[in-house]
């Protein structure tokens, strides 16, 4: 303990020394966060900000859906080499609040146009993937779940290259990456391995266009009570062959997306479409959204339309045994996140580093599933019923 105190004191002394230096410090520390509250109008439908959490907001305001705190340190080792580490605390899909290292990489500016990075970075499948926890930089309370829930794994351990160049008036950026990703989710665990992806962005004045493609090997091991009993029943009745379609380590997946953003003066327009192709374990699905915002002074009201629909279910296998087929149908429905939503919101830049947001959404789940919503009873997945309304309030800040 005493040794720790001595260490802290000498660290503080070092920082004080650095703070008074005649030249800028090579170390920079900063942070960001959101204090957010969300509720629905229906106690039997929990609203989640992703599709893999085992809890969400019900009919009472809940702080765990959107609240997040992150700190980041960067160290400039020399002109071309930087180290960056970012740690984030937010409720994980399995309910823990353990800090997670969200970025940890060394970056090397090989040429003025080429940046090489190694370590943990973000899986850049979609336009706003990089700023998932950084709500202050985004217009909404959270990126639209119809697209962003298609990939719940947010980081990648590996290496990437960013090539950036100006052609005439247009900024072009090519981003190539490779690596792997792992995460514990509601009732199981997920891995993406041998990820290979490419993203291209084109920006000119306020307009940005982006396309992205990635492939990976996928593991998805369900271990929830429902899956385990379904598996047991399938094996017991001689339908073992269906089990490898539902859970395992042999999946192949690909992600495709295209996005447009126009952000100039008062107007903000965003449109994005994304598709997840999977050969087993989870469904193939397509999501899109459009957002329009209009700035007037420190306020920006915005409107979002969004939809996700299932292209093909997890498994089309049939056993001919009614109770087993019903069981498979429920398994498929629980993994179908189809929904459509309309949302209206307001962002208020209340201070230099603070944004206050309010957002109201109408979510119509289905067809064939409950969307982002989590029911009290598994059988509800098969009868999505009418819309659920969600109210979210948030204060986003950076420091």
């Amino acid at each position: 303990m005493k040794r720790l105190n001595t260490l802290l004191l000498s660290l503080a002394a070092l920082i004080a020394q650095v703070a008074q230096a005649d030249t800028p410090s090579p170390l920079s520390l900063s942070g960001f966060g959101t204090l957010g509250a969300a509720r629905t109008d229906n106690a039997n439908r929990a609203f989640r900000s992703n599709s893999v959490s085992d809890s969400g907001a019900g009919a009472a305001f809940d702080l765990s859906v959107d609240s997040v705190l992150g700190v980041q340190g960067s160290l400039q080792l020399c002109n071309r080499l930087d180290l960056t580490v970012q740690s984030v605390v937010r409720k994980s899909p399995t309910g823990s609040y353990d800090p997670r290292i969200t970025w940890a990489f060394a970056s090397y500016q090989a040429t003025p146009e080429l940046l090489l990075r190694i370590g943990r970075t973000r899986l850049p499948f979609f336009m706003y993937s990089d700023s998932l926890n950084l709500n202050y930089a985004n217009p909404w309370i959270r990126p639209p779940v119809e697209v962003y829930s298609l990939n719940p794994l947010s980081d990648i351990d590996g290496a990437d290259a960013l090539y950036r160049r100006q052609f005439a008036d247009t900024d072009v950026e090519l981003h190539a990456y490779t690596g792997s990703s792992a995460m514990n989710i509601r009732g199981g665990s997920a891995n993406l391995d041998k990820i290979r992806g490419l993203k291209a962005s084109f920006s000119r004045r306020g307009l940005t266009a982006q396309i992205s493609y990635a492939r990976a090997d996928m593991s998805l091991r369900w271990s929830d009570a429902y899956f385990l009993s379904l598996r047991q029943a399938l094996i017991a009745t001689g339908h073992d062959a269906i089990v490898p379609e539902l859970s395992g380590t042999d999946g192949k997946t690909s992600f495709m997306s295209a996005a447009l953003q126009y952000d100039q003066d008062r107007l903000l327009l965003i449109a994005e479409i994304a598709r997840r192709n999977v050969d087993r374990y989870i469904d193939t699905a397509l999501g899109w959204y459009v957002t329009a915002g209009y700035r007037t002074g420190a306020f920006m009201p915005y409107l979002t339309l969004a939809r996700q629909r299932e292209v093909s279910p997890v498994s089309t296998a049939a056993t001919g045994v009614a109770v087993l087929d019903d069981g498979l149908a429920a398994f498929n429905a629980g993994r179908n996140k189809a929904q459509r939503s309309i949302g209206a919101g307001l962002r208020w830049d209340a201070g230099r580093n603070v944004a206050v947001k309010a957002q109201f959404e109408r979510i119509q789940p289905g067809p064939g599933g409950l969307g982002i919503l989590l029911p009290n009873q598994l059988t509800d997945y098969l009868k999505p019923d009418g819309p659920t309304y969600v109210l979210s309030l948030a204060v986003d800040f950076v420091f």
Binding site: T23, P24, W103, P112, D130, L134, L162
Partner: protein, 140 residues
């Protein structure tokens, strides 16, 4: 009436710095005699889209503390208001794309840094430029 006039004078004195459009200049240490900077390059540097000068020399950037001069600088150079520039830079920094300009705690510290640090680019009001620094670009 008299006190009202005094109050008015006091107020105009208080707000004068925010309203006066002092000339802002981009500066570097005289140790970098060959350094050249165009308006476009400066904008790219302060928007984090490049980290080098036109000839490939890597440079570091300096920011003034929060205040009217800083807001005025970004508005003149990039056309973005304080909230927009803050959101823009937080995206760059927290998504691992760029390191933020180093923020000086005071004008005095900014002046000291500029004199002592080679390859540091900063900005300040023209009347604050110290003798050891060289003006690269004027932002009228």
């Amino acid at each position: 009436m008299h006190s009202a006039r005094t109050l008015l004078l006091l107020f105009s004195g208080l707000f004068a710095p925010a309203f006066s459009h002092a000339e802002l200049v981009l500066v570097a240490s005289v140790r970098n005699p060959a350094m050249e900077l165009s308006h476009e390059r400066a904008e790219n540097l302060y928007l984090g889209s490049t980290t080098t000068l036109a000839d490939g020399t890597p440079v570091k950037l300096m920011d003034l503390p929060n205040g009217a001069s800083r807001d005025d600088f970004y508005l003149k150079l990039t056309g973005k208001n304080p909230a927009q520039i803050r959101a823009y830079w937080s995206r760059l920094v927290f998504t691992g794309r760029a390191l933020p300009p180093r923020e000086a705690n005071s004008i005095a510290e900014a002046r000291q840094w500029l004199i002592d640090t080679p390859n540091l680019v900063g900005y300040m009001e023209r009347t604050d430029v110290p003798p050891g620094a060289r003006i690269l670009l004027r932002l009228p």
